[in-house]
Amino acid sequence: MNRMQAVSQMRATAAIAFLLASGLVVGCRPSKMPVVVEGPQSPPGWEVRYNAAAALARRGSVRALDDRVRDTLLEMLDEEQQMRNFRREVNGRMVSDVNSAALTVVTTLQAIHELHQRQPSLDLIVFHPAIDKLLDSPNLVVRTEAKKTKQSIINKK
């Protein structure tokens, strides 16, 4: 990695950190009331499966498109499912951990972006509908990252 790339990566990291620090809060501001969880969590072991699928994508493995891995990545891009997975108890009610849910979606988008960078010839069309849906996310950070990923993957800019 040359100096320019390092600086570019540092800027990107700083931008993401800033967005996570400010945007997640701002993005969630319209709904000040905690979101009560409705529906089941993913089957047990989802934390492990998520990290493994993201790791395969970030390593640039072509196996990231194997059925099981692809389905896991698509589940990770499902913002509503992440709101069900990340939960905490507040005043005796289970509510969504909005920030953790958003962080999972954002890191998945970044993993897909990295997969594309490492394997530009890989057809990632299977992720397009999920990414398109995230363009309308109520969360600013998710919307921003989805837009960035779409630009890099779908439009191949």
Partner: protein
């Protein structure tokens, strides 16, 4: 013309009828007020800040860290190891210091032996609540020390600590399950950081990288276990196998700790290795993608572990 004898009042600068006050050249007093006093305040603030950073920086030399880490006070030891883990993240020079990294690895090796000894003391402490409490306190302090030394080894940009961390990640230490998994998790996390640290090494100036490699070659030509660690670090920096992916593959197959497997999947992002190791990493991740959540699911309980 009586008014000719009355004294003329001085023009008031606030009176709008009198117009603007007369322009006069700045006096020495004005210059002092505008420049010298603010200048002195700023100089004072800068001096205080420099003083603080000098005082704080005094504790950040390798010698000072080693002195605190070798303290007979267990609390001073683990706090020094914790500070070191934080400083290494930011200090590129310290993070590539071969001699210092080898000394920290030696202390980590000793600390692991002492951890097992501390656990045995607790088991042999008998029924006396006072002995129990003291032995437990020592064990917790030693466990913290081991955890932070592992984190420190992971925050170097040279993989001197890889052999020890791989051993701890795969095998753990102690007989108590919580203790074993706590140290294993710490080692896996450190291995993830160590993998990322190699990128940091590659960002160092070319002359600095060459100097680090020379230092490692000198250490590798020596005797004892430190020379073995130096050889492994050299191999790792050249992209050869140093056993990290094999150790992580063992952790991935552990049926008892979900969080360990979760961290293992994360750590595998940062290690490429040889073509064979890349295949092993991929197979391991494909196994983890089918994880069904066997084992502990209460990460808080294991994190507290005291």
């Amino acid at each position: 013309m009586s008014h000719m004898n009355e004294p003329t009042p001085p023009p008031s600068p606030l009176d709008p009828n009198k117009g603007l006050p007369a322009v006069v050249p700045p006096s020495g007093r004005h210059i002092v007020q505008l420049f010298l006093i603010p200048g002195l305040i700023v100089a004072g603030a800068v001096t205080i800040l420099l003083g603080f950073s000098w005082l704080a920086g005094g504790n950040r030399t390798p010698e000072q860290f080693l002195k605190n880490i070798d303290s007979t006070n267990a609390d001073v030891r683990w706090r020094a190891a914790n500070d070191l883990a934080q400083v290494l993240k930011r200090d590129d020079e310290l993070a590539a210091n071969v001699d210092f990294a080898l000394k920290i690895a030696e202390r980590f090796s000793r600390a692991l032996d002492e951890l097992e000894r501390a656990e045995r003391y607790l088991q042999d402490a008998g029924a006396d609540p006072k002995d129990q409490a003291e032995s437990r306190k020592s064990l917790v302090a030693q466990r913290n020390y081991v955890q932070y030394l592992a984190a420190s080894l992971g925050n170097f940009s040279i993989p001197v600590g890889a052999p020890l961390l791989c051993d701890v990640a795969a095998n753990g230490r102690g007989t108590d399950e919580k203790l074993r998994y706590t140290v294993r998790r710490g080692a896996v996390w450190a291995l993830a950081n160590l993998g990322e640290g190699r990128k940091r090494f590659n960002r160092l100036p070319e002359e600095r990288r060459a100097a680090v490699l020379r230092d490692l070659e000198v250490a590798a030509a020596g005797a004892g276990i430190a020379s073995e660690w130096a050889k492994v670090a050299l191999a790792g920096l050249k992209g050869e196998s140093i056993g990290v992916i094999a150790a992580l593959a063992i952790c991935a197959r552990d049926p008892r700790d979900i969080f360990l497997r979760e961290q293992t999947a994360h750590a595998l992002i940062f290690w490429d290795g040889t073509p064979e190791e890349q295949r092993l990493a991929e197979e391991t991740l494909l196994l983890l993608v089918r994880d069904v959540g066997a084992g502990h699911n209460d990460r808080i309980e294991l994190k507290d572990g005291e």
